[in-house]
Subunit: 223 residues, 2 copies
């Protein structure tokens, strides 16, 4: 089994290289790219459905949807009139940089200011595969419990921001926000935390303000 | 990258072989083994906390807890006075048969009638790694949404039973049970579905009755 180690190393190295090439493409096109990761059902598509219509009119956005199977999420995004490409991994538990590269053939990057990549629902594996995105946003949801940062530290460690969704359910859960936050800070002292409900709209303004600040900073750095 | 294929094949073959050896150990010890799989936070540990105290007094149970990191779940089980071994995978996104074999060194199989293996929270990867268990039980939870069987077919396909947890939250969710069930039946026509709330106790009797039926059938087949 020792032979597997160099092969996996090659795979990850190859992914890193394509991720860097993706990043160069994004920078040249001045497209700001956000990699959105979470457990299954935490609300990645719902966050996009809440975010996309709230963007300023002059910000053209697109979405790459990653799923093992089905076009369900892509259909939800397409219903908003937003350019969307579905990647079906056919079993693979994460998106990788070459998959994203393939999807880019179906998007006109030069026309897009902001591209969201919705990763496969998985709180573990996507953390190991860079895609070339400018931001890693990790979504958690209150029904998953306040222990998630303790149990899945790798994912929370690499987050540039954490969105805690389904805040509207807290009254019916044994969810302790302080425990969640303490766990998050153990592995990630700096990423801002946005507590939101995509259903009621609670907390979305702060998330949107922050996102647009990052977007503007990127635009100013890539004139 | 073609070289990776035979290596992965070897890995899976090696896992299958150890899984078969685990199964032989379980059969010889007359220990009935259940592999419990779900997304992060669906309630695997909560289902065990609800199940273990409801077992008949003469059924001695044990638990193997699989997590990327932390002993949180093992502590919840140990609080019930049940023999428990924690496996920390240190990043690996699933349990495999050799990890389970290692954990068995810390359990007296001959004294155990029923062994639960709580897999790492992941609705994808654990489906690819047999552990030697007699039953694969897949847990889903209502806040994850009714689309999960459509989007994660591999996991639902191999389920011998599906437990849908957090039924108590349905009034506050847009969860359509019929859509969930239709998706489940597309990939798995036969596995019984138990709709439960580990919090209120709703539906647990039917789950427990079925589990004990499987347990008794196993005991009768291994006299």
């Amino acid at each position: 089994m020792t032979e597997t180690i160099p092969v996996v190393r090659h795979l990850l190295d190859a992914n890193e290289q394509v991720a860097q090439e993706n990043r160069d493409l994004f920078d040249r096109a001045r497209t700001f790219v956000v990699n959105l990761m979470s457990s299954p059902g935490a609300g990645k598509t719902s966050l996009l459905q809440a975010t996309l219509p709230r963007l300023p009119q002059d910000v053209r956005a697109g979405v790459i949807e990653g799923d093992i199977a089905s076009r369900l999420d892509a259909e939800r995004i397409a219903a908003l009139g937003v350019a969307v490409v579905q990647i079906n991994t056919g079993g693979t538990c994460h998106l990788d940089a070459p998959m994203v590269r393939g999807a880019l053939q179906h998007l006109d990057l030069d026309r897009l200011h902001l591209l969201f990549i919705e990763n496969v629902g998985n709180l573990i594996c996507p953390a190991n595969f860079a895609l070339g995105a400018h931001l890693n946003v990790v979504l958690a949801s209150t029904p998953e419990g306040h222990d998630k940062p303790y149990k899945y530290p790798g994912m929370f460690r690499l987050a540039d921001a954490v969105v805690l969704n389904k805040a509207d359910l807290i009254p019916w859960l044994d969810f302790d926000r302080e425990t969640f936050e303490r766990g998050l800070r153990m592995v990630n002292p700096r990423a801002p935390l946005f507590v939101v409900s995509c259903k009621t709209g609670e907390g979305l303004d702060a998330w949107l303000t922050w996102l647009l600040e990052q977007f503007t900073a990127f635009q100013n750095a890539n004139p």
